[in-house]
């Protein structure tokens, strides 16, 4: 029932595991939030939920309220300029829902067969009390084309039957190498078969810039994502390189800094010198603010713009 209020629902899919679905979901959510949208993230990877870790809210718990479950808020809306001095920080609210918030221990395995997973996915979809007027709901999925995916798409198609434009479509993630592309092609065929529009393909882990010599190595080869997008006639949204600073941001909460002269999308990145903060480890700024220092942010700003341009042109509940 609570899905009715949501303007756009986006799925993040990939046939292959570990290509960065959760990482892409996280960054799409942060970027959309930075563009002023209110965003929700639903993690339906039941046996390996990563979203709580990505947002640094592993200890959070969901609360039960009359009529459903209250998702965990990552940050509230911010309309005032920040004290950082590098421009005003305005962003929309962001909240998350994941099975990770319900488990009693972080090491606990969820040993469920299909029907149980189906029930859980349905319950997440129908009884999460998202904040009213949510602009975007991003759904992070497990790898494959099985129970969770079938249930998710079935439920979504029923729930959005009265307003089909609500289900905006899917962002499909791959890495460049052939092994990954061949699994992800199966996912594109899945989307075709069930009638979910593919908004585009994101190629993750495309190249790694050696911090010692600045040489870019294609760790997982190159160009696979773009070639696949052309083959299937779907938009190619962009290539996202491997950035250890992003991993550091997620794992340890360290605000990214880059060597002098690092320029991404024509924009110079912050260096040790320009950012005169000495206590990087204890920087208490929210994740979303730190993310703006990450080299991947300008790339995601571009990807999000392509997505929102397509999504918002379609006559949604304006």
């Amino acid at each position: 029932m609570s899905l009715k209020d949501i303007k756009h629902i986006l799925l993040v899919l990939s046939g292959k595991g570990g290509v960065g679905k959760s990482s892409i979901t996280t960054q799409l959510a942060l970027t959309l939030s930075l563009q002023g949208h209110s965003v929700g993230v639903l993690d339906i990877d039941l046996t390996g939920p990563s979203i709580p870790r990505f947002f640094g809210i592993e200890d959070a718990k969901v609360t039960q309220a009359p009529g459903g479950l209250v998702p965990v808020q990552v940050h509230a809306q911010s309309t005032s300029g920040s004290t950082e001095g590098d421009g005003s920080m305005r962003y929309g609210a962001l909240s998350c829902m994941s099975l990770g918030f319900i488990l009693s221990g972080r090491n606990q395995a969820v040993i469920w067969r299909g029907p149980k997973k189906t029930a859980m996915v349905r319950q997440f979809l129908t009884s999460t009390l998202w904040p009213s007027g949510l602009n975007y709901l991003l759904i992070d999925t497990p790898p494959g084309t099985s129970d969770e995916h079938i249930s998710l798409v079935e439920s979504l198609l029923t729930e959005t039957a009265s307003n089909p434009s609500q289900l905006a479509g899917a962002v499909v993630v791959t890495t460049p190498q052939a092994i990954s592309v061949s699994d992800v092609k199966k996912e594109l065929n899945f989307c075709r078969k069930v009638g979910v529009k593919v908004l585009g393909v994101v190629e993750n882990m495309a190249g790694f810039v050696c911090p010692h010599c600045m040489e870019c190595t294609n760790v997982f080869s190159a160009g696979g994502g773009a070639a696949m997008a052309i083959e299937f006639g779907v938009p190619f949204l962009g290539s996202v390189p491997l950035d250890p600073a992003f991993v550091g941001l997620i794992e340890e909460g360290i605000r990214p800094v880059y060597p002098q002269g690092t320029v991404v999308e024509g924009q110079a990145m912050e260096t040790e010198e320009t950012r005169a903060i000495t206590n990087r480890e204890s920087d208490k700024a929210p994740l979303v603010e730190k993310y703006t220092s990450c080299s991947l942010y300008p790339i995601f700003a571009k990807i999000c713009k392509q997505v929102t341009d397509v999504v918002e042109i379609t006559p949604a509940s304006a």
Binding site: S127, P143, S146, I179, K185, K186, K193, G248
Partner: protein, 351 residues
Amino acid sequence: MAPPPDPPLTPPPDEESQSVLNAPLKAAPALVAPEPEHCPGPESEQAGKGDACAGCPNQAICASAPKGPDPDIPLIAERLAGVRHKIVVLSGKGGVGKSSLSSMLAFGFAASKAGDEELTVGLMDADITGPSIPKMLGVEDESIHISGEGWSPVWVSDNLCTMSVQFMLPNRDDAVIWRGAKKNGLIKRFLKDVAWGALDVLVVDTPPGTSDEHLSVNSFLKEAGIDGAVLVTTPQEVSLLDVRKEVDFCRKADIKILGIVENMSGFVCPNCRGTSQIFRASTGGARRLAEEEGIPFLGAVPLDPRIGMACDFGESFLDAYPDSPASTALLEVVAGVRKAIHMDSNGVAAG
């Protein structure tokens, strides 16, 4: 319109996973309708009697199906009687290199010897919705042949054979959109109907997670006996988090953990030889996890772009770059696994 009352959302209790694991499988009856939510599983002892069964069109069928263990399980044990060792490759996390490691283990075993004899190795791909093994072994375009003995596995070399759902697809990119029960059925046929013959080692590659495929592989192989599981992870905490869940799964399912392998551990720039930690082990990596959990650490395999290339082209990385640090690390892993399953290099293979 009042929303329908929701069932209370409860965390999965431990006893529940235990009952899922211990459920002795019986033969799955032919269903007339899809399984309902919270279905106890048509193979389970509770079939037809659970709360969710009320009103299900299958109820009568499930309830009247013969009870007792699945009659196919002894058939599987018989079929696999010639298989000396069975190893499962597991990881809670996707894309950490389960399939690359499985294929490299298989290549590694096939290249090593026990005494004067070459080892014969089988590699079964239990990842139904994302099969990668055929591509990595370079046999993507093969299909299955059926003989009097059953389905013939695809032979990669004289002493390495494999089986995967990929061989059964009419088109290479077809999606396999199957729910759990159907996946379980195919895994059973891979074990029961494939003429594996006499193998020294059967390596089973699995999809990420702790769900249908894992439960099925475990219960179907219980009687035939699993030597143990090799866990794969990458160094960063996001991956270790899921692997801890897999450790929990192995403990609950009573599968021996042969050891843990850290993959993509450090990257050596081919240009300047400088090492970088792409996936930083902020919490001590697999080595620390192994210490904490008291399981053997089998080795750390560095991230080498040539491994990915070798997998894409379906050739053995170990043959192509025998002198690389990654090959050395992989051979150590193979040796570690051999030791763990008591298969000594001097040929005394203790069962």
